[in-house]
Symmetry: C2
Subunit: 218 residues, 2 copies
């Protein structure tokens, strides 16, 4: 009971902050997108493939959530994208207040697309609204076909679902059809993009769709 009470209080405080973030994004004409996945599913690789396709259309900035390292922020800098690092320490997700604080030190300026790369975790990040306009979930297809049923919340709240590492599917004994059907059971609406960041397969349809989405929301 105590756990539930504490959790409810934390989430309600988070919701206040998320609303303030959402208001700020709206006033500044910023589209905010929250990328979530388990560790190693390929969020950073997806961003490296996706963001160059939008660089000519709008100013982009990235907020990176990581427990300890700046590895992902370094990769964004290498790709020519301004990136701000939130080091969460033992905290397994980003919350709305962390984003509010980050924006104090990392002003939005002319940013039109703010990408937030969450901590790698298929459970907790999905519970915390950051004030984003849109969520993208990256799932590694080699993690198995049954995970949408086992970890439904992130799949359910995603506006788009990328099934990454499809180049490994022939070797991994996972059925893309079964995985896609299981995704559909928990989220019948979101578009599902099978991709491989390694081979580039499926990347153009995804980036085209994402570009249209971002420009349409602006």
């Amino acid at each position: 009971m105590e756990r539930v009470a504490v959790e409810t209080r934390v989430l309600s405080k988070n919701e206040e902050c998320a609303q303030a973030n959402r208001q700020l994004f709206k006033e500044r004409g910023v589209v905010a997108v929250n990328f979530m996945s388990a560790p190693g599913a390929g969020k950073t690789s997806v961003l490296e493939k996706t963001l160059p396709a939008l660089k000519d259309d709008c100013e982009i900035a990235v907020i990176e959530g990581d427990l300890y390292t700046t590895l992902d922020a370094d990769r964004m800098h290498s790709a020519g994208i301004p990136a701000y690092q939130i080091t969460t320490g033992t905290c397994c997700h980003l919350d709305a207040r962390m984003i509010t604080r980050a924006l104090d030190e990392f002003p939005l300026g002319d940013t039109r697309l703010l990408v937030i790369e969450n901590v790698g975790n298929m459970v907790c990040p999905a519970e915390f609204d950051l004030g984003e306009d849109f969520r993208v979930m990256v799932y590694s297809a080699v993690e198995g076909a049954e995970k949408p049923q086992k970890y439904p919340l992130m799949f359910q709240t995603a506006g788009a679902i990328l099934l990454n590492k499809i180049d490994l599917i022939p070797y991994a004994g996972v059925s893309l059809e079964e995985l896609t059907a299981n995704v559909r059971k928990v989220n019948p609406k979101a578009p599902v993009f099978p991709i491989s960041c390694r081979t580039g397969e499926g990347i153009p349809p995804w980036t085209n769709w994402f570009r249209e989405l971002v420009l349409g929301l602006q």
Copy 2:
């Protein structure tokens, strides 16, 4: 500050329960092992490969942690191992009190090896002592070579580390040498076993080692 205070209180209550569990295991001559990993790294597959090798030596029982489904417990039942399901709902890890409660409904009886399969999450489960004697971490090698630096706690607290899915390494662009070196940087002591549950490669050295460990702890 409030978050930190709440977290400290939760962890200290957990520690009390963990000590009580540890005492119970000691009195009953039970070895308790906590298996942890990110979603889809192969904990259940590892148990399916490992536990049959110990069935003739001692009574085994499994506690399965899962957010919603009984899929993993069903797999244990199919393997002839008694299994009790803890459904955690929105909670992203097992805590010591959940184990205490489970043991009320799932008595240890003649159990000599109690395996606890944690919720799939590379962050939070590592923070919660369950009273176990030993932790095993299962890592999917295709999640990348740099994750020990990004998510160190689980690697650091593991008594043995299994690098699963090594059959996929030739196709995934991950270096097993680099991954092993990165594991060693955060945990120089724990034995590291490269394995493939799919092909069976590396399973016998691991199961032999684990069998000796369990029998030696009894």
